[in-house]
Amino acid sequence: MSGPDESLLSDHAVDTALILIVDDQKSSRLMIAAVLEAAGFTNHLFASDGVEALDVLEREPVEIVVLDIVMPNKDGFDVCREVRQRLNLPVSILIQTALEDADQRASAFDAGASDVISKPIHPHEIVSRVRLHLERRRMMNSLQRYRRRMEEELKAAEAMQISLLKSDEDVAAIARPRGADLWTFYQASNQLGGDLWQVFEIDETRFGILMIDLSGHGVAAAINAFRVHMLTDTLRHDRSEPGLWLAAVNDYLYQILPVEHFATAFYAVIDTASGHLHYAIAGAPPPILLEASGGWQALGGSGLILGCAPGVSYDTWKTSLKQGDRLLCYSDALYENFEQPDLSLEPEDLARLAHDVVSREGGAGFMSAMIGQVFDDPEAQSRDDLTLLLLEVTGDR
């Protein structure tokens, strides 16, 4: 990737920018053309009044208009206004005004002129202004092209990232036969994110759910998320032991992540047949267990964030999981409020909100309802990547 073009105007080169010269006096048109030609601007068109000028502008890719004010049929101010309002063209308009008339100069800008040049024409001034505006246009165009390309690349990367996540059908194919429904939500703060969730088949009755949040956000976090995704898919460690498995992930991340990057993670093995949840935590916010009985608990346990030290051990914790219980896993973007720190939510706030929401909206409707409860403007981009997983124990197998 390269930055914006640096091929701006050189002083003496021939420039083929298309310039429209509009003046009702032929002598003025020819004089302006001669001045511009001498400075290397060889590509021009003429119009002798406002109507003709607009006609040319509708047909030709004009970059700069040198425009007189007082003309028959349609004056320069009207041309300006029509170019901006009706034709909506980004062309640069240099309007010729008498220097001493401040009101007229102000009206020219109000009408949509890009700049004013003095009349009678001063050769050095008109050449300098034309150059300046062409330079500005080319810089803007180059920045716009650069920006469009970056947006396209980010969009492609975003699509790649989303394609890594399992589809609802794939998730259901793993969870349903094992007695559970699992609903997922992921939204990157800025196209590319550093959050990641994954579901693994373990055996006929058990499956694993993983949530990882790479530190930071944006491109660096996203690249790390890609690497972690590859790792978690290929790591040949026993996924049925959450603590040992996170320890293996940690050792690998310690090797690949720079010192200021790390990850938080929650990994759980769901076994609805035996009614148990085994899990390990590495710096992740505590998932909330909403019990079928109406009670709730934030899962206990903790562990060091991943990727900072080698040989760290992680405990495997255990809790019971009954039919009708729900487990809510979430990334910190759900409860942290950096704009108004005092409004950050505590696990009990989340539990209460989630409890309200599940009583109205189970399953598929839960995510948007929960997000609507937490954020004032759910459509607004969150400042950090947001991931939610909701597990419901159905017991049907």
């Binding site: 790390f262 950096f338 950050s344």
Partner: protein
């Protein structure tokens, strides 16, 4: 985030206030450079007036600690309360950086 540093006889003291987030990489780099260049062998990051810290902010503390280690200095955090204390508790960063 705002910060100020003070060179005392025995330590470099860095007061950090406000929120430490992803957007503070540049000022934090300056802190890290000061840590590498300072004379005292002890660096204290005072977070008494730090209101919040995000994951990128924790990453910056880890970077500061690494820089201190590599230049033969000890780095400690002080004034860890409120949201920062919760993040430390969750992340177990106290296993990596000494908190006084």
């Amino acid at each position: 985030m705002e910060y100020r540093t003070e060179n005392r006889d025995d330590r470099l003291l860095v007061w950090i206030s406000g929120v430490i987030t992803f957007d503070d990489h540049e000022p934090f780099r300056r802190i890290v450079d000061e840590i590498a260049a300072c004379t005292p062998e002890l660096v204290e990051l005072s977070l008494t007036t730090t209101k919040m810290i995000d994951s990128a902010g924790i990453g910056m503390l880890l970077l500061a600690k690494d820089k201190a280690d590599k230049s033969g200095k000890a780095l400690v955090l002080s004034g860890v309360t409120g949201h920062v204390a919760k993040v430390v508790e969750l992340s177990k960063v106290d296993q990596l950086i000494k908190i006084v």
